[in-house]
Amino acid sequence: MPKINIIQAINEAIAESMEADPKVIVLGEDVADREGGGVVGITRGLSARFGDARVRSTPIAEQAIMGAAIGAAINGYKPVAEIMLMNFTTVAMDMIVNHAAKLRFMSGGQTTVPIVIRMMTGAGIAAAAQHSDFLEAWFAHTAGIKVVAPSNAADAKGLMLSCIADPDPCMFIECSRAYGNACEVPADQGPIPLGKARIAQEGRDVTIISYSEIFMRAEAAAKELEADGVSVELIDLRTISPWDRETVIASVRKTGRAVIAHEAVRQFGVGAEIAATLQEELFGELKAPVKRLGAPYTSVPFSPGLEQLFIVSVKDIADAARATLGANTPAALAVS
């Protein structure tokens, strides 16, 4: 089976959805082929294949983009709208939060907004403070909108299929550093349910929970830890809201230790919700405090060295896991 990366995976998911459902449409800045099919080519080939009416490049006007998507969705379409970078949601928050997320509720279920909002983000490409933020916590704190962030191509495809099929608005977060992450994706890869985490690896001693590109770092940390004799259970959250409480709680109930790692600023981030939930659900069962890792309380710096320090590292994750083990060294664990 040939490997494909996340860019190809998302492209396939959108294309298959468009093929299957004529109501699926695409809009955003430069998304049509005439403009290159998106900055990194996610929507490349779609306008050629499905026509210019269904794949429309827009002016630089994110409120207009989101409004067009919301209105079309209310009238039965399933728009996949691109907001080029996640920071640009800041000029369209009203449309996303006050409208897309709330219309089903405000209308008592009469109007629904089945849209997908695709966004790229992530530090590490020298794009600095206004082009790199992970803002998933804002949307997770907003009732009525789902938030998804895949780490690999198979998940990207399966989750995008689900987002497009979903009857409610979904934010789909793409990390630029993860785009190249290639894996074998079966040609018939189907939808992956929203709200379900993936246990990437089972383990006994500590659960590491992550998503998006940071999950790749968590995997690397787990390898390091395994080499030291620590048995890691590795969870890729995949959907951040609603998150898979059951899977995470069951895992940490088993291991007794948890580390949560994400790219966004740690304070008031997604890790806080998970840690707060775990301490409540597993009071007395935890063997160590739940550790949260995220960026320090600062903006994404330009200077490359500083920028790397901004992002949670493999070592940060491994160290945090070790800290949860405390005196329970691998040797001690082995006999326990």
Partner: protein, 337 residues
């Protein structure tokens, strides 16, 4: 291509007698409903922020007679007149305003978020400017569907200064969307006078910047309003794109119920009220022999009865049960984290 005129050119469409009466019926409905609303709010029987549309009756009435149920509108917090003119049933509307489960939105949206798709009333928003981007999307769907359905985006003069206005008019013109932007210029945004918020003397002039026809009309004149709306709606239906209509009007009861109008002069208010479009049109219909006094009195009495019945219906309806609080967040109720 952009023009700024008075909307009553030589080719102006003229409503026939039946349409004139229908416009009046909708105006009377709005006026009487407003009186009832203010009474109910004043009495404390209902608690809600009430944005009276009194004085602006002509605009949606003359627009909506050009529309079918298939056509759609997006309006704003001050939009009960737009909803009524579009045909939202009184009972459902009153029940919503009263927060009852029988309301259009099960009481969860309230007066600022009336939605009634069956009559084409799709969106009522509380965020200034936001009716326009969404109207574009509705219209885009109609265009993709290949139908001749049109969408009206209502908004106020104050809203013409916010970013969403600009983005929406540009996109609508660029994509030739079947949408008509109807600015109800009542000369104030909350307590701020038009000229203290808006740098141009006529909002319709902004149409120039979008290569879109723009027209300023007397929003209190049912004939001028009908003609302008008819032309714009036909243009949209024919696939020739959007129009910006600035309809000049006045709100008699300030921004929100309780507003004491300190920010306007007694004279300008008195002047505006002296031009009350509802009795004026009533008199004209009779003077022109389009309707008799008795006919209009019957029509009005019938509306009064319907309104009273709607209020009784609403107040007798159940409040939503507690489980409605977390229903309709997503399609599937189980998914909330």
């Amino acid at each position: 291509m952009a023009t700024t005129g008075q909307g009553e050119g030589v080719n102006a469409a003229v409503p026939d007698a039946a349409t004139q009466i229908e416009i009046y019926r909708r105006m009377s409905l709005i006026m009487q409903n407003d009186e009832a609303s203010r009474k109910v709010v004043r009495s404390g029987r209902l608690m809600m922020p009430y944005y009276s549309p009194r004085g602006q009756e002509v605009i949606p009435s003359a627009v909506s007679v050009n529309l079918t149920n298939e056509d759609q509108i997006c309006t704003i917090y001050r939009g009960i007149h737009d909803m009524l003119a579009k045909g939202v049933p009184l009972k459902d509307l009153w029940a919503e305003v009263a927060g009852r489960v029988t309301g259009t939105c099960k009481g969860k949206g309230g007066p600022m978020h009336i939605t009634h798709p069956a009559s084409g009333a799709i969106l009522t928003t509380g965020i200034v400017g936001s009716s326009m981007p969404i109207a574009n999307g509705l219209a885009w769907a109609h265009k993709l569907d290949g139908t001749r359905r049109v969408v009206i985006a209502y908004f106020g003069d104050g809203a013409s200064n916010i970013g969403a206005f600009h983005e929406s008019l540009n996109l609508a013109s660029l994509w030739k969307l079947p949408v008509v932007f109807v600015c109800q210029n009542n000369r104030f945004g909350e307590h701020t006078r038009y000229e203290n918020a808006t740098s141009v003397d006529q909002i319709s002039k902004r149409a120039v910047g979008y290569n879109m026809p723009g027209v300023t009309v007397d929003g209190n004149d049912p004939f001028a309003m009908y003609a302008a709306a008819n032309e714009a709606i036909n243009r949209a239906r024919d696939g020739d794109g959007p129009t910006l209509i600035e309809a000049m009007t006045f709100r008699f009861f300030g921004h929100v119920f309780g507003d004491d109008d300190f920010y306007m002069t007694k004279e300008e208010k008195a002047d505006a009220i002296a031009k009350d479009p509802v009795p004026a049109f009533r008199a004209r219909l009779i003077a022109d022999g389009v309707a008799t006094e008795a006919q209009l009195a019957d029509l009005e009495a019938d509306l009064a009865k319907q309104i009273e019945e709607a209020i009784q219906y609403a107040l007798a309806s159940d409040l939503p049960s507690a489980d409605e609080l977390t229903r309709d967040v997503f399609a599937a109720e189980t998914e909330a984290a």
